[in-house]
């Protein structure tokens, strides 16, 4: 048994991973039992709803949220207070609050963690929104692929109802509010607000043109305010601790904190919450602990299929909505994928575009046909058949798709391509002109070569080759027939002497 004295008992809060973080949205995640409403109340839960219903007018609430500077955490960054103020004055017999928990970006799991760890804070935020805009009914649209989140949210709703924190005459104020869960069937486009509402109505999830905006005509034709999970999770804290407290964090135009799902080529993967304005360098080098295996950082992808890649030279830009947009990326919902020198940027662009081609709902032509054409050009480039005019064609198509698509999915789909062309143009040129993939990812541009100096002619590679492409005999260096080679990499993985390289 190892003696305890050999180790330091370092507290979690003192680790580099936690030190630079500030937990507002995630304050209760990992602290309370998400299935116990009492534990949420013990951490001042529902106190904000109580304060709002007993001491504030709806206008006070909207003013407080506006003054805080909170912006939509789903990715768009629209000011939350303004969104509510557009819906509040509309007169209608029924209005709705909708929570968007259709988290679809590859690699993102912020919303899932909030719903699984602290579901009541979302319920409380939605009820406060309902009071502010005059809505009595809410819906949470959550992916069916999140069974634990769904289960805990349902338990939370049931317990809140049991305790009279949802239902009629909450806190004796005369305000009624109740809510239900709606499950999404896994279509990415349903994260778009009009498609999401159409899907809640039981119809095929397709977006519709705006105007009319949801604030005027949303769910079931009624005025509706839709916000993301993380946006609602901020609301109760803003009410309790004040707009000034929230506005004191972050940058001039982006207040508060942002949760990121940190993944990819990084030592410390995890869920991090940082004040707006933190640099990418801080997140990757300090919180994330850097790139594993001594590799070099190449780019960070934010905003998923709608976002872009931030290159190494932009690592010191403070992260906020406007800065990220200015450098051709996007805040997005919070997926942050780190890439190293082994990632091919053309291949990354192809991956994200392939995703949007699959997920395009097909309703409008620019998105349905345009993204497919762009993908074909990228496939042509990675196959080694690209021409320089393809870059212009890609850029032309991208601008056209952005300008003419019906919804956010199509309007942002070209971003991964545009940002990689802008920041990694030389890599595209290497594929097109030199017919080489510098990262060694694109199979058609790759050649496995045996260095005769290093080859010990052991024959391991020949035995590993499934295509019988390797020839040689004991005492003579082996060689690979490029005509027969299927580029599977089996020989490369087998060679003990490092004699096989990718070129």
């Amino acid at each position: 048994m190892i003696d305890n004295q050999d180790f330091n008992n370092v507290a979690l809060k003192d680790t580099p991973f936690y030190k630079a973080q500030e937990r507002v949205v995630l304050r209760n995640c990992g602290v309370i039992d998400p299935e116990s409403i009492e534990e949420y109340i013990a951490m001042d839960g529902y106190a904000a709803l109580g304060k709002v219903l007993t001491q504030m007018t709806p206008d006070d609430v909207i003013k407080c949220v506006s003054d805080s500077g909170l912006r939509g955490r789903g990715g768009g960054g629209f000011p939350t207070g303004r969104k509510w103020s557009l819906c509040a004055p509309v007169q209608a017999p029924q209005k709705y609050v909708v929570c968007n928990a259709d988290e679809g970006d590859p690699g993102a799991f912020m919303d899932r963690s909030v719903l699984e760890g602290d579901p009541h804070c979302v319920i409380e935020g939605m009820a406060i929104c309902g009071y502010a805009i005059g809505a009595t009914k809410g819906f949470v649209y959550v992916r069916a692929e999140y069974p634990i989140a769904v289960k805990r949210l349902q338990i939370a709703i049931d317990k809140a109802r049991e305790m009279g924190l949802l239902g009629k005459n909450i806190f004796g104020s005369g305000f009624d509010f109740d809510m239900e869960i709606r499950l999404g069937a896994g279509a990415f486009v349903c994260g778009e607000e009009t498609a999401l509402m159409t899907s809640i109505e039981g119809k095929r999830g397709e977006p519709r043109p705006r105007p009319p905006y949801p604030a005027i005509k949303g769910l079931y034709g009624c005025p509706t305010t839709e916000n993301n999970v993380e946006t609602f999770a901020n609301v109760a804290q803003i009410i309790l601790r004040g707009a000034e407290w929230f506005a004191s964090k972050g940058t001039e135009k982006s207040k508060g904190t942002k949760v990121f799902a940190l993944g990819g080529k990084i030592k410390n993967t995890g869920l991090v919450e940082i004040p707006m304005g933190t640099t990418l360098r801080e997140i990757i080098e300090n919180i994330g602990g850097g790139i594993p295996n001594g590799k070099k950082f190449k780019a960070a992808q934010t905003g998923g299929p709608s976002g872009g890649c931030i290159p190494a030279e932009k690592m010191d830009v403070p992260i906020d909505y406007d800065n990220l947009t200015a450098i051709g990326a996007m805040m997005g919902s919070g997926g942050l994928i780190v890439m190293d020198e082994d990632n091919c940027m053309v291949d990354i662009a192809k991956f994200f575009l392939g995703f949007t081609v699959d997920e395009s709902c097909g309703k409008c032509t620019p998105c349905r046909v345009g993204t497919r054409r762009m993908l074909e050009i990228l496939e042509k480039i990675t196959a080694g058949n690209g021409e320089m005019s393809d870059l212009e064609e890609l850029e032309k198509l991208a601008e056209y798709i952005k300008a003419n698509s019906l919804c956010g999915l199509g309007q942002t789909a070209p971003n991964p391509v545009l940002s990689t062309i802008k920041n990694f143009r030389e890599e595209y040129i290497a594929h097109i002109v030199d017919k080489k993939c510098p990262a060694g990812v694109c199979k058609n541009l790759l050649r496995y070569v045996i260095d005769p100096e290093k080859c010990k002619s052991c024959g391991m590679c020949k035995r590993a080759c499934p295509a019988d492409a390797i020839s040689g005999e004991r005492g003579v260096p082996y060689s690979i027939d490029p005509e027969k080679c299927v580029k599977c990499g089996a020989c490369y993985a087998t060679c003990k002497f490092g004699a096989i390289s990718k070129q």
Binding site: I2, N4, D6, F7, N8, N9, V10, A11, L12, K13, T15, F17, L26, N28, C29, G30, V31, I32, D33, P34, E35, S36, E38, E39, I41, A42, M43, D44, G45, Y46, A47, G50, K51, T54, F109, R112, S113, E116, G117, D118, Y146, I148, A149, M163, G164, L165, I170, F171, G172, K267, N268, T269, G270, L271, V272, E273, G289
Partner: protein, 123 residues
Amino acid sequence: MKSLEELNAIRDKVRDTVVIPDGSDKIRVVVGLATCGIAAGAKPVFNAIVDEVEKAGLGDKVSVVQTGCIGICQFEPVVEVFEGGKEKTTYVKMTAEKAQRVVEEHLKGGKPVVEYTIGANLN
């Protein structure tokens, strides 16, 4: 819920079980049981702690609860121990066997098993 007073009464009643006050001999153990923790094997760890606590006769003193994602994916399953007036102890990469030792030495014996903590497992 009829009034803020009613809400505050619940808060005051439950507060000490969530945030253990200084001077209390109570211990709160939380196990990260979000999707990520469960996928990493947190359920057997949770069950082992519950069983061992009961076997050791610590039921009155120690409460074991599930919680959400603590945020440190590569260290799952994560177990944290909260004691009054002390910084919490974070145990990482837990197994049912390790949990037995934590119950025996830390919860019962009062001495943290430092080699299982995050400090001893940083790279």
